[in-house]
């Protein structure tokens, strides 16, 4: 009996300790809400102790800054959020040391204005791309979700780790398990940051989580101005009248099946994926099937796999031209409507495959229905994304190869 009581006491003590650790900083009455009056008292105590010779017990600088954040961005209360994996987490302090394994999430964080000094480590892919992510040069290299560097990840003492939500789930689960065993206080969040269906929700969740709700709304207004324009104009086109599209990835004849990301993007742009009846996410299709389904538009993705060229680090259009020519020269493909009509388009994955997917959707919409979008300039959308939201000084009129042919 005594032993049971002791165990109970220990549990109560641990729970109490845990509750204390989870309290909103400077919430003196422990009500769970940091009021203006409590925050003011904390600020004055801190100033008094440091500069006015006061002897009051002042909050630590960390507590004070955390309290200011919680008051300003979370209405003085603990924040409970649900990430894209469905996990719910409650926070009483801001995240200040974030390790991000997902470069798409790094890009999304930049879109909403998250300061890079809150990130302590990034994936090798982010570091391999110093032109696009210059501010992360010198950050700890966490490896990748498939080959994580646990030593580095633990060494940077993250308070949070961001991982993919729906891809490489088992690898991400392993990372969570291992890092949690090293430091149980680490919080884990899952975001894909590239899936159109979850995009706006993820941007908003990220904004709330990181105190960038205004930045998130500003970015979503821009994103929405493009996506809403496209959606409104294609809405009146009956399903059967939608342009049939063949999309091919960087591997020849590898297309997109129902439910895949590219299938979703074709649909968003008002097209009808000719292989949407395939349940395999990325099926390898028979060239004869493409001929028989006779797409009006062909969209070829480059920038990865066997076709690593173009994008931000390449101004040369010759490889795009070669791919374009090769598609038009495929045996018997001159019978396909898209080839006969000169509607074969090449697009780089950096303009459609990640958080910037809406740029690719804008391009496709203009390719599918040029008459519907005489005023939509995807290149201008891309430029605004880079200048205003990615904060990069990159002139698309001077550099980069993202689409071919370009009619702008």
């Amino acid at each position: 009996m005594t032993r049971k009581l002791l165990l109970l006491a220990c549990c109560i003590f641990l729970l109490a300790g845990s509750a204390a650790a989870e309290a909103v900083p400077c919430d003196r009455d422990g009500s769970g809400t940091l009021t203006a009056s409590e925050l003011a008292a904390a600020i004055l105590d801190s100033l008094d102790a440091r500069f006015m010779g006061g002897t009051v017990q002042a909050p630590s600088p960390d507590d004070l800054r955390d309290a200011a954040f919680v008051y300003e961005y979370w209405d003085g209360k603990a924040l409970t959020i649900t990430d894209s994996s469905g996990r719910t987490t409650t926070l009483t302090r801001p995240l200040k040391r974030i390790a991000v394994f997902n470069s798409d999430t790094v890009e999304m964080m930049r879109s909403i204005g998250v300061e890079p000094d809150r990130v302590v480590g990034v994936s090798k892919y982010t570091l391999d791309d110093p032109t696009y992510f210059p501010e992360y040069r010198g950050k700890a290299n966490l490896g990748s979700v498939w080959s994580p560097d646990y030593e580095q990840a633990a060494a940077v003492r993250p308070d949070a780790v961001f991982l993919y939500a729906t891809i490489s789930q088992s690898s991400c689960d392993d990372i969570e398990k291992t890092l949690a065993s090293i430091d149980p206080s680490i919080r884990f969040f899952r975001f894909d940051s590239y899936r159109p269906a979850a995009y706006a929700v993820e941007v908003r969740t990220m904004g709330l989580l990181l105190g960038k709700a205004e930045g998130a709304e500003r970015f979503l207004a821009f994103h929405g101005s493009v996506m809403d324009t496209v959606a409104e104009r294609i809405a009146s086109i009956p399903t059967d009248d939608r342009v049939p599209v063949y999309l091919e990835s960087w591997n020849d004849y590898k297309s997109a099946g129902k439910g895949s990301g590219y299938d979703e993007k074709i649909e968003l742009a008002g097209g009808r994926n000719i292989f949407s009846d395939t349940t395999i996410e990325y099926p390898t299709v028979d060239p004869e099937a493409v001929i028989s389904r006779n797409p009006d538009v062909i969209v070829k993705i480059v920038g990865a796999g066997e076709l690593v060229f173009g994008g931000y680090g390449d101004d040369d259009s010759s490889s795009f031209k070669a791919v374009h020519r090769a598609i038009e020269s495929r045996p018997v493909w001159d019978q396909i409507g898209a080839v006969r009509g000169g509607r074969v388009h090449i697009i780089h994955s950096d303009a459609i495959g990640g958080p910037e997917y809406f740029i690719g959707v804008a391009y496709m919409a203009t390719w599918f229905y040029p008459d519907l979008f005489p005023d939509l300039d995807p290149r201008a959308v891309h430029q605004q994304y880079l200048s205003e939201f990615q904060r990069l000084d990159y002139d698309l009129d001077e550099h980069g190869m993202f689409v071919y042919p370009y009619d702008g």
Binding site: A40, F51, M52, R110, D128, D129, T131, G310, D314, L392
Partner: protein, 157 residues
């Protein structure tokens, strides 16, 4: 993102500076006979603190800032800033004493701190002083402010 982007390192110029919000605390003095009204105009500091040191010979006479956001101790006055863009307070003393008021501010969201009045007096009768943000760290700013007071006093001797 393609690793090949690295090739154009020289072409791209990194501009990633967080959107710059002008941060300053401007002090405006209005004097009449033996009274000084001080207005602190706070820009870009949603949550922070300000400590003003009023010179010897001046007496604290009150403020319109909320009581629970103000603390007076000797010649020092601390203000907690929570969304306010202006703080007005009054002191009694000679009009020239306004030039000796020294202050420091701290932005609790960014960790920036600075000195109120680092630009010095601008016009007679009404004095506008501004501070520019500096690297995080409040203590040095306080030291600088203290130095400014001492230096100012020495100059007048």
């Amino acid at each position: 993102m393609a690793p090949k982007r690295a090739v154009l390192l020289c072409v791209l110029i990194f501009l990633f500076t967080a959107p710059v919000t002008a941060v300053s605390v401007e002090r405006t003095l209005t004097s009449s006979e033996n009274d000084l009204e001080v207005t602190l105009t706070v820009t870009g500091i949603p949550i922070g603190g300000i400590v003003e040191t009023i010179p010897d010979g001046c007496t604290w006479a009150g403020t319109d800032h909320p009581d629970d956001q103000t603390r007076v101790s000797g010649q020092n006055v601390a203000f907690a800033v929570i969304g306010e863009e202006a703080i007005r307070y009054r002191v009694q003393g000679p009009s020239e004493a306004g030039e000796e008021i020294a202050g420091t501010w701290e932005n609790l969201q960014t960790g920036e701190s600075g000195v109120v009045g680092s630009d010095g007096p601008k016009t007679s009768g009404e004095v506008a002083q501004t501070a520019t943000p500096t690297a995080p760290g409040f203590e040095w700013a306080a030291a600088l402010a203290a130095f400014a007071v001492v230096f100012g006093r020495r100059c007048r001797r």
